[in-house]
Symmetry: C2
Subunit: 127 residues, 2 copies
């Protein structure tokens, strides 16, 4: 049961491709949106503020390919398609939620830092 001795820090490690996909804001938000349960395409779109239909369908497709979400299309008119986290996808939720929580919990500190940095930058340019 040996794992390869390399890791994501190695450019050619296969897991780098997986990290590249999950270390992405859209992926993070879609996984969080689907955590409570299966949703229709349009419902995900409402849940993830600001995402375009194109980006959503493309990202969902990649996540389906990676086995993170499953897709169920009902043969109806108009169409009805539902997405759900797979067991693999559910195992991803906790890390993703932790990342989002960090962003929310530290946004004030980050903003203060940005303001200070930009001020230093300004007076450096002015001299």
């Amino acid at each position: 049961m040996e794992r390869p001795e390399w890791n994501v820090m190695v450019a050619t490690c296969p897991s780098r491709t997986s990290l590249a996909r999950i270390a992405n804001k859209w992926t993070a938000m879609i996984v969080m949106a689907l955590d409570p349960g299966r949703l229709r395409f349009g419902e995900i779109r409402e849940a993830v503020g600001g995402i375009s239909g194109k980006v959503l369908s493309e990202t969902l497709r990649q996540l389906e390919r990676d086995g993170v979400v499953s897709r169920t299309a009902y043969d109806q008119m108009p169409p009805r398609v539902e997405y759900e986290l797979t067991p693999l996808g559910r195992s991803l939720h906790q890390p993703m939620a932790a990342l989002a929580a960090w962003a929310q919990d530290h946004i004030e500190e980050v903003q203060l830092s940005r303001n200070a940095f930009d001020e230093r930058e300004d007076e450096r340019l002015v001299g």
Copy 2:
């Protein structure tokens, strides 16, 4: 001590900008590289496989702006610049490491899923 009632799922929430930065493979790897202790620019570059000088300097600059890393430049020739995680940055390490660990731990499952998906795709195109 009330937090705003919105969150990263809301497009206009400030924390969205923070999530966008940390939900990024380069950020993840740089934070992990710096976890053991301060490193010089070139050392980070070696630690993070495949990163270019341009991307590294740009990303470090953003992370410095956000207060995640601190930068120390020694007035020498040739230059010597060291980077270190701030306390804020150290608080980010755990979530980042969890994400990287997920990528590594599940890469085989992901790859199997990708292969199966691509095969289904192929036979769908062939018919």
